[in-house]
């Protein structure tokens, strides 16, 4: 690392675009940080003696004779227990008025965990929300996004999940968060008396978009410190990854890269995977679980951002407003937790898989009945009963305001089965029927 005393100051920028500038310099390392006219920047390309810098704050107002100094290192964060309870910007600088954190300086975006040093995730993360715990059970070490339209209350649900999940640390990575949402998180965590186990890295809509590219790596490097060095369970919340990806495309387009689908860089999959794959369960007990938000435009999941995300994460949670009950529910059809089979019926009651599948199947029957009704066909008695079931199921289990224990979710399931259906209509294994069927 070069010593600050001999830092060379460059003053001749040869090219400026909206997000980058270039100059002649030597002895510069790839990925190295620089300060351009007081703004932080990072080396993204070196050809001979020409160095191209990506300026996080944007290049507005940068003159060709601006002062440029190189810092001799890539972006870092200082890690220690003192991170807990603090709020930082994308560069890891405090925004809560407190002092800078002292600790070991680590490069962000560091290497990956050796796959053979991982453990298969097996710890259930309970949230109290039946749409999640019953149908799409979360497991520590998992990575899963909410796919939601921008008007849906995903931040509220995330905050709720974060507070109920019994983890040692919660790390919030906010990207393009509105100031109101930022304050919402702050208040919720404060009111819950949980501030001391929360760490936030926040880039708001007031901040330059390119800065948010640093947020996930900041949050995850902090997470790795607690999970690896301290063997803690860490939950990382990343909202909104769509805005992160948008920032990626801004930079790559400025670098004249050929865009692939939806003007996203061809490396979008790898860029997102590098972040999400930081989710891990260690044999020592430490873990990083990532819950993210990917906002959709008009519910389109074939757009490159949700599409690539779906290929990377271990399932997805869809929120939807159910007009029959006037509440937001976790959509049982389109949501999926791919790790649920590692815990359901194993860490939870034996009837969990059956109750879950049966309820979803009956809910699907109701959906068919609804289509029939809308197409003007007559409904059978079974159709009618499945519609009644669907309404109850939505209200008592799928709605996001439900907060109960998993056993209670299962009991509710059995109650609804016997209320609306006959034994042979639910088609559950005989042993379980004998044990759990509730005669009414």
């Amino acid at each position: 690392m070069s010593s600050k005393a001999f830092q060379k100051i460059y003053t001749k920028i040869t090219q400026i675009t909206k997000a980058t500038c270039s100059l002649k310099a030597s002895g510069i390392g790839y990925d190295e940080l620089a300060v351009v006219n007081g703004k932080l920047a990072q080396v993204v390309k070196i050809i001979g003696d020409t160095v191209t810098l990506q300026v996080f704050g944007g290049t507005e107002g940068i003159p060709t004779n601006a002062e440029v100094t190189f810092l001799g290192k890539s972006p870092t964060i200082k890690v220690s227990e003192d991170l807990a309870g603090r709020f930082f910007n994308a560069f890891g600088e405090p925004i809560d008025g407190g002092p800078a954190v002292e600790g070991e300086e680590r490069e962000i975006g560091g290497p990956s965990v050796n796959p053979v040093r991982r453990k298969q995730p097996s710890e259930l993360v309970a949230t109290g929300i039946a749409g999640i715990d019953l149908n799409n059970t979360l497991v520590s070490g998992q990575k899963i996004p909410f796919f939601a339209d921008p008007d849906q209350p995903f931040n509220q649900v995330m905050a709720m999940v974060a507070l109920r999940a019994k983890t040692d640390k919660i790390i919030l990575g906010g990207m393009g968060l509105t100031n109101d949402d930022y304050l919402f998180y702050k208040n919720v965590f404060d009111n819950a008396g949980a501030l001391d186990r929360i760490i936030s890295f926040v880039n708001t809509t007031d901040d330059p978009p390119v800065e948010r590219l640093l947020v996930p790596d900041m949050a995850l490097t902090a997470a790795e410190y607690f999970a690896v060095d301290k063997n803690e369970t860490v939950l990382v919340l990343l909202t909104d990854m769509t805005l992160f990806a948008d920032a990626l495309s801004i930079v790559s387009n400025r670098m004249d890269q050929i865009p692939s689908k939806d003007s996203m860089p061809g490396s979008l999959y790898s860029d997102l995977a590098k972040i999400y794959e930081k989710a891990v369960q260690f044999p020592s007990g430490g873990s990083i679980t990532i819950i993210a938000v990917t906002t959709l435009s008009g519910g389109d999941i074939t757009h490159a951002i949700p599409d690539n995300t779906g290929y990377i994460t271990e399932g997805q949670l869809f929120l939807r407003r159910d007009s029959d009950i006037g509440k937001v529910i976790v959509d049982p059809f389109r949501s999926l937790s791919r790790l649920k089979q590692l815990v359901i019926g194993k860490k939870t009651r034996e009837d969990h898989p059956n109750v879950m599948n049966t309820a979803v199947r009956l809910y699907a029957d109701a959906a068919n009945a609804k289509t029939k009704m809308e197409n003007g066909f007559d409904l059978t008695d079974y159709d009618q009963r499945s519609l009644d079931f669907a309404k109850d199921y939505s209200e008592k289990l799928l709605a996001i305001d439900v907060n109960i224990e998993i056993d209670q979710m299962l009991n509710t399931g059995w109650e609804l089965f016997s209320k609306h259906f006959r034994k042979e209509e639910v088609g559950i294994k005989q042993e379980l029927m004998d044990k759990y069927w509730k005669e009414n």
Partner: protein, 585 residues
């Protein structure tokens, strides 16, 4: 003297190196960063400049860093000890690495140099041999691992001596050969081979024809794959590609399984690490892991090594095929490999083809699939590599370059349908769109007539017709309404549903249902087709659903029971009774 060079440009993992001597395309070089050496591969040469893709992060790399060209291409190390290893894309043994995190520039030995293997000679002094001739054999986890004349040897050699049976390390000389000039050449148990070149030391590669049982009904019964065949599984995210591949890897009748986790999730590899050492291979009584090698280049590992990983896997497969073994190779997902190519081609500012993939993508894919196959070795024995790759089409749309290119190269097409996955009809292989070209091979037909029955192929085609008719009928019922069509339409539709629920759908997580031997598949298909060919009498459509649901339920109970067990027979008997209620004699 190897060529030296200096770094002259860095764009992410593409580095431009000024070379002070000759370099070849795809040659390996090492960039010195002081403490570590970063491995890279030449992918383009322009004048004095070699464009190299670095298999590591280039963070901190500076202009004028020294580069050493290695004088060889990217190669793998072959020899006993490959089975049950977990490698990265460049064949580094992941278990030999220190610490929780992968360290840049840490390269570990793929084999175990100190380990002694029980060697048994197969050749003797005076034998005339050539590349890939078997000189001896060691027991590798119960597999007869052949020690061969290195593949790089050209022409004929005469065996001067072979060591006697005993314990040797991979580096001990086990044979001395004489070349045409009577000069002595020593042979050990290990050799190297460049991964981008196919090992072709066999006599001929006929069209493959032997059924490869996978235990997955929708494959074996409906669209079978063969020993040495090729297939691919495209499907949107979450449709079940990985679950299906894992099922195949656990159950297929292969001697050796090579899984290339190519740019997918680390947790899925951990699942194999965790499960395979526990699971038993029914045929050998050994653990599955003992015959498996995993190449893990997960999505967060360096992109250039992702491209290398599939070639590494294929070369290991070719090595075992040369020993006369049946190799099954799986790659999840070949789209990630294509994307790695796209990233590099982008950085090289090459003229892009469709969706910004490189222009030569179809050729790259078809060359790769062509390396699979069934072969007759020069000694008359046979060996095979069956290859099945997954494809992850953007937006789930099959009209995209990787799917289209792969369709031209692979002979089996297992299309996973979103709609089937949504309605939990797993495995979500679409029975109408999917195909196996092997069904049309007369040599395959001959083989299954012998192995299963002479009516098998016509039964398979018959079930396909029923499925298609069922689908068409369903569409008409939807348009005209339940009571707008004759009752017979409902029966036709439900017969196809019986095939779907009983034959096609299979629970990958149920201990019994997950794998079905071919005899049982035959029994069930015959059973179901008898039902489909029978006439049923119903007064009204309202009776049809409920009746067939009962039938399906009983069939499913049969699927969940041990074949021919008391429980199985009980459900079958019950089923017969239900059938009697409505079947018209």
């Amino acid at each position: 003297m190897s060529t030296k060079g200096k770094v002259k440009g860095i764009i992410a993992n593409l580095v431009i190196v000024e070379a002070y001597g000759p370099v070849s395309q795809n040659e390996i070089c090492f960039i010195s960063t002081g403490s570590t050496q970063l491995m890279a591969e030449v992918i383009k040469i322009n004048g004095q400049n070699a464009y190299v893709q670095v298999f590591e992060s280039t963070r901190g790399v500076k202009i004028d860093y020294d580069v050493d060209f290695a004088g060889h291409l990217l190669e793998v190390t072959l020899g006993p000890g490959i089975l049950s290893k977990n490698y990265d894309g460049l064949q580094n043994d992941l278990d030999k690495m220190d610490g929780v995190f992968l360290k840049r520039g840490e390269y570990t030995h793929p084999l175990d140099p100190g380990k002694k293997w029980k060697f048994k000679p197969l050749a003797k002094a005076g034998d005339v041999v050539e590349a890939a001739s078997w000189l001896g054999q060691v027991d590798e986890n119960g597999m007869p691992h052949k020690i061969m004349v290195p593949f790089t040897f050209k022409g004929n050699y005469t065996v001067k001596s072979v060591v006697e049976a005993g314990e040797y390390t991979i580096e001990d000389t086990i044979a001395v050969l004489l070349n045409a000039d009577k000069k002595e050449v020593k042979v050990t148990m290990t050799q190297k081979w460049p991964v981008k070149m196919a090992i072709t030391a066999f006599r001929e590669k006929p069209r493959p024809f032997k059924l490869l049982e996978t235990g997955v009904r929708t494959i074996d019964t409906l669209n079978p794959i063969v020993e040495g065949g090729t297939g691919f599984i495209p499907g949107p995210f979450g449709a079940g590609k990985t679950v299906l591949q894992h099922a195949i890897s656990k159950q297929a009748e292969a001697d050796i399984v090579i899984v290339a986790a190519c740019g997918e999730r680390a947790n899925e590899v951990v699942e194999i690490f965790t499960e395979f050492p526990e699971l038993e291979d029914i045929r050998t009584g050994r653990k599955l892991m003992e015959r498996t090698t995993i190449i893990a280049n997960t999505s967060n590992m360096p992109v250039a090594a992702r491209e290398a990983s599939v070639y590494t896997a294929m070369t290991l497969g070719e090595y075992y095929r040369s020993m006369g073994l049946k190799v099954l190779m799986l790659a999840d997902s070949t789209s990630r490999w294509a994307q790695a190519l796209r990233e590099m081609s982008n950085r090289l500012e090459e003229l892009p083809g469709p969706d910004a993939f490189p222009m030569d993508l179809p050729a790259i894919i078809s060359n790769f699939y062509a390396r699979a196959g069934f072969v007759y070795l020069k000694n008359g024995e046979t060996g095979s590599i069956t290859f099945i790759g997954t494809v992850s089409p953007a937006g789930g749309n099959l009209k995209e370059p990787v799917t289209e290119s792969t369709k031209k190269a692979a002979r089996c097409f297992y299309a996973l349908a979103q709609q089937r996955a949504d309605s939990k009809r797993y495995p979500a292989v679409d029975p109408i769109d999917s195909y196996s070209k092997y069904l049309e091979y007369p040599e395959f037909e001959e083989y299954v007539e012998e192995k299963i029955s002479d009516t098998w192929i016509s039964m398979v085609n018959h079930s396909k017709t029923i499925l298609l008719r069922g689908k068409e009928t369903y569409e008409q019922i939807n348009i005209l309404g339940d009571d707008g069509v004759p009752v017979g339409y409902h029966v036709t539709y439900w017969k196809s549903e019986v095939i779907d629920f009983v034959i096609l759908q299979q629970d990958a997580f149920d201990a019994i249902d997950q794998s079905t031997p071919i005899e049982r598949q035959q029994y069930m298909l015959e059973h179901v087709l008898r039902l489909c060919d029978a006439d049923f009498s119903f007064e009204s459509f309202t009776e049809v659903d409920g009746y067939f649901k009962r039938i399906i339920n009983l069939y499913k109970q049969m699927n969940y029971s041990e074949f021919n067990s008391e429980k199985f027979n009980k459900f079958e008997k019950e089923l017969q009774e239900v059938l009697q209620e409505r079947i018209v004699a």
